[in-house]
């Protein structure tokens, strides 16, 4: 076997725990990146498959860019285009069903959680889509409450020909008679429920409107088809899209954002892993100075030494990456299995298998192995500069290190200054770059700062332990081995910095979102649709329901939210129609920019719009801008009167306008979310009973008491945060252990010296004190620096979030700071206890023979 490989394997094997822990960091980073990137496409895949399946196998599907309805007459225009042979206009709408809708049984999983209501002209529809009826008959023009369903839906719902199918609708539940059954659907997606167009228009309160036009062309030739598509675009204008279905575009965007955030986390994990490997290698090289010098003395070239270290890194990188990919796949699989029912329920999609692409595997390998190699390069080059003399006179090496110090110090300080400048810029990209620069700068600066500080601390300790005469020894050890001390202290620093940074972020997120939640979900009662994430798939209620609720005895105010899809620039936007006066009574937006009073007022004067931070960032909108919003009736100009968000919609690109405007521009009058307050004097139970009675015909809504909903949401939020925290702690654990490791190595390395101390008459207690004092000095330095940098990184992260559109208030993480100090010092002492005891117990003769 190759000598370098043999050496690398032996060295790694000799320190199995350290190898394991170092590799763990890489495993974790790759796991996140690989797992997330197999998971997300699985979602995206099934989501688009859903859309594609809904589009069926026609030549072209034409929809409004916003996904909203448009007049039936558009179909005629399409039919007139040269080359179009058949056209079918439909009004289609996914209908989310409440849990246990068909089976009324909470213990069995629901097989159908949503259906797609398709209103079509039977003959046109049949001319494009082949429909075989296996039982009963096909729809006929003029059919009233008749419906054709698939065999699989009929089975799932326990219905058969002639039975009544009851579906929720904005105007209350509607009963249909099943007149025909078609074969079960082959493509993934929602079960379709086919009714005649006028019926659908009536139920969905969209007279004369459709939202999808399917067309078949006279040619399959690519060029001809492009011509026809171009002709259609000319006729219809820019507001229409040919091909992809636009419904749910905003959720697609969200999945994209989630993927980016998780990739960032994975990237951070990898960087952390890289840093740990970098530090471990610096330790390794300090530890093996003599070995390396000896190899050089007997004829190993610089390249051989460089390669030896790189191979060691490579082995860890390869193992870590392989394990990371494996665990990542498992993680994706488990998550998908766990999440599939939720995905079905809330996102209305069937999630498939984890999507592993060769590109992703290659990218993960490049990232995982690449980072270890990169992290190893500097230490490897440092190792190659170890001269043979260092095997013989180990003190020689420190000279070069000291010479580097000045240069590193100023380089690192430069980076830190730039990082601070970036923070002031308020730009997310710069801030992220600044955080990276800051961390790198600290790592670079730390070694040159550790020495003077160790001296100061040493003097301080000397005063305390003056009588035992041991502190001078501890200090002497530290300044004699500055690189070792620097490695240990900076490892501690990074670990502590992470803890404090995460603490800052979490306390800030917690406070910000809890406040937002209490504000926006503070009403007495809520009517919640099946999906609170994607409003567009929910069947709401006609204004009649709200009126009925207002009439309930003891009701003070009913505020409703209406939904429409829109587009600003290239960004898909969920538009929410609110009635400012009622809305502010039961709920409220948390403003980042703009005066709330004036903003609510402006919603109703002309076209005012409040956008949330995510949208403002995504579309580059600022307060006072006039933006072109794509609506079913063409582009409309809205003035941005505020930047604000509520809890439920904080994460999706959302805009708030008045209900008058959503009716005029989007033709929407359907309420998808209702919040209610009872009169102060009212009996809440009676009011609840009144609401229950009013919504009997609207099974699409669930009645929730406000307090309960709030608690539910806080619970969910806490769980998510706890997960996040756990993940970050997981990230910092390897560096804590790296810290223990470096401290322990320091003691082991000086075994001989300790023997000498004992030989000249130091008591066991004195030996223990020397080692403990040394560890505590290092830990204290690390903690002090970690606190400073962690607090700074925390501020940076919080302002980074703000720049990204999640405005947060910075909260000083007092408890994290205390916890960090405790953890740092305890780990520092822990790191010393075992070796200190070993050293104290050591047999003097053995100690002197060591080496």
């Amino acid at each position: 076997m190759n000598l370098q490989l043999t050496l690398a394997l032996r060295y790694l094997n000799g320190r199995r725990l350290r190898t394991f822990l170092t590799t763990l960091a890489i495993v974790f980073g790759v796991l996140l990146i690989f797992g997330m990137n197999t998971l997300m496409p699985a979602f995206l895949g099934s989501f688009t498959a859903n859309a594609m399946a809904a589009a069926g196998q026609v030549d072209a599907t034409i929809t409004n860019k916003t996904g909203e309805n448009f007049p039936e007459s558009v179909a005629a225009k399409v039919a007139d285009v040269d080359g179009v042979v058949a056209v079918s206009a439909t009004l289609e709408r996914p209908v989310n069903l409440p849990a246990d809708y068909f089976d009324q049984d909470a213990s069995t999983p629901d097989r159908v959680t949503a259906v797609t209501l398709v209103g079509a002209n039977p003959d046109d529809f049949r001319s494009l889509t082949m429909v075989n009826v296996i039982e009963g008959r096909y729809l006929e023009a003029g059919d009233g409450a008749a419906v054709v369903v698939t065999q699989s839906l009929a089975e799932a719902a326990g219905l058969s020909l002639g039975d009544a199918l009851t579906l929720p609708s904005p105007t209350g539940t509607v009963d249909f008679e099943i007149v025909g059954v078609t074969p079960q659907r082959l493509l993934p997606g929602n079960e379709e429920v086919l009714v005649s167009l006028p019926v659908a228009q009536k139920i969905l309160d969209a007279p004369g409107m459709v939202n999808t036009i399917d067309a078949n062309f006279d040619s399959v030739a690519e060029t001809r088809r492009a011509e026809i598509e171009a002709a259609i675009t000319r006729v219809l204008g820019d507001n229409f899209t040919i091909g992809v279905l636009q419904a749910g575009a905003e959720i697609l965007q969200n999945i994209g954002v989630a993927q980016a955030i998780l990739n960032l986390l994975g990237g951070m994990g990898l960087l952390m892993g890289g840093f740990i490997i970098f530090n471990t290698f610096r330790t390794i090289i300090a530890e093996r100075r003599r070995d390396i010098g000896m190899l050089r003395a007997v004829g190993a070239s610089r390249r051989t030494i460089t390669r030896l270290i790189l191979i060691e890194g490579m082995i860890q990188g390869v193992l870590g990456t392989a394990a990371g990919i494996l665990f990542g796949y498992g993680f994706a699989l488990i998550t998908i299995t766990g999440i599939a029912p939720i995905g079905q329920q809330f996102l209305n999609i069937q999630v498939g298998k984890p999507a592993v692409t060769p590109g992703l595997v290659i990218a993960s390998i490049l990232a995982g192995v690449g980072i270890t190699v990169v992290a190893g390069i500097l230490p490897a080059r440092a190792a190659s500069r170890v001269t043979p003399l260092e095997a013989l006179r180990p003190s020689v090496g420190e000279v070069t290190l000291k010479r580097m110090a000045g240069f590193r110090f100023w380089g690192g300080m430069g980076m830190i200054v730039i990082a601070i400048a970036a923070l002031v810029s308020g730009n997310a990209g710069f801030i992220a770059l600044g955080a990276v620069l800051f961390t790198v700068g600290l790592i670079v600066v730390a070694p040159s700062l550790v020495n003077p500080i160790a001296n100061i601390f040493g003097r301080f300790m000397a005063l305390i332990f003056a009588r035992q005469g041991t502190a001078q020894l501890a200090e002497g050890n530290l300044s004699r081995q500055p690189s070792r001390a620097a490695v240990t202290a900076s490892t501690t620093m990074i670990a502590m910095a992470i803890l404090v940074m995460v603490g800052s972020i979490i306390s800030s997120i917690m406070i910000t979102f809890t406040t937002m939640m209490e504000k926006s979900l503070g009403s007495d009662f809520l009517l919640v649709p099946p999906s609170v994430a994607i409003w567009g798939t929910n069947v709401g209620a006609a204004p009649a329901l709200a009126d009925e609720l207002r009439a309930v005895d003891g009701m003070a105010v009913v505020s409703t939210t209406r939904f429409a899809g829109a587009q600003i620039g290239e960004v898909a936007v969920g538009v929410l129609g609110i009635e400012p006066r009622a809305y502010t009574e039961v709920s409220g937006l948390t403003f980042v920019e703009g005066d709330p009073q004036a903003a609510y007022q402006s919603l109703e004067d002309g076209r005012g719009m409040i956008v949330n931070g995510v949208l403002a960032t995504a579309a580059g909108i600022s307060l006072g801008d006039e933006v072109a919003v794509l609506t079913p009736s063409g582009e409309q100009t809205y003035t941005i009167v505020g930047i604000a968000s509520d809890f439920l919609n904080a994460k999706t690109t959302t805009a708030y306008i008045s209900q008058a405007n959503i009716a005029t521009d989007f033709g929407r009058t359907e309420d998808v979310f209702l919040q209610m307050n009872a009169k102060e004097s009212a009996d809440l139970d009676a009011v609840e009973a009144g609401i229950s009675a009013a919504i009997r015909q609207y099974p699409q809504f669930k009645l929730v008491a406000g307090q309960e909903f709030l608690e539910q949401n806080i619970g969910l939020f806490d769980a998510a945060m706890a997960g996040f925290y756990a993940m970050m702690i997981f990230l910092s654990v390897p560096s804590l252990i790296a810290m223990v490791n470096t401290l322990a190595i320091g003691v082991i390395e000086r075994t001989r010296e300790i023997g000498m101390l004992r030989a000249v008459g130091a008591t066991r207690k004195q030996v223990r004190t020397v080692i403990l004092a040394e560890a505590l000095i290092l830990a204290a330095i690390g903690v002090a620096f970690g606190l400073l940098s962690g607090l700074y990184l925390g501020v940076m992260a919080v302002s980074g979030f703000s720049a990204l559109g999640f405005p947060m208030e910075y909260i000083f993480p007092a408890s994290s700071v205390i916890a960090t100090i405790a953890v740092g010092l305890i780990f520092g002492a822990l790191a010393a206890i075992v070796p200190a005891r070993q050293a104290a117990r050591m047999d003097v003769v053995t100690a002197l023979r060591y080496e």
Partner: protein
Amino acid sequence: MTTIQTEKLTKIYGHGATAVTALDHVNVHIKGGEFVAIMGPSGCGKSTLLHLLGGLDKASEGHVLIGGHNLNDLGDDQLTELRRRKIGFVFQFFNLIPVLSAVENASLPVTLDGMKPAEARAKATGWLTRFGMGDRLGNRPDQLSGGQQQRVAVARALIADPELILADEPTGNLDTRSGDEIAGLLRDVSKEFGRTIVMVTHDPRIAAYADRIIFLKDGKVVDETQLERKNGNNAEMLADKIKEIGD
């Protein structure tokens, strides 16, 4: 056979007020196949001289000629190759790589030079067996006694068939018996294979194994003695001499 020559070889550590002149215009001439011992009080520059001879460190002034080549003219890669092929080292401490077995340690120079593993192993096994280590081939350094470790180090110094062997207090860390064994080994090698050997020691008994002794004091050569093989009191004579110089 390689001759070694130094001319005005000077080494100064540090500069200014703290400068230490470890070697001060040293001229020595060592014939091919000669076994030379360097003696002198602690801190007189013995190790420094040895390191300069082996190209491990750079001279401040003057130069070392090995077989006519000036070491000052060689780059790091060429020095590395020189160490690998032409010079064998034995040191007092830290001679062996802890994660490699005896036979792997002994074969390092030739493995680094690209020799086939099996061949390198066979060669190392040969030397180790000759030094009575045949039953310890697979042991790691921490499973060997000090004397055994030094034997592995000597085997490693010899494996590439170098013309020059440099040993810095190879017995300094050993008991009397092991020390004698190692010194004996070196002398046998010198006689049997005609290797040039330069050994640093402060032990007169060990120095007595050499052909010639060079005495160093404060970085300067202060005396030289050619030893007569027949003379049984070499060690005592050297001890007296050292005492005299040390004063």
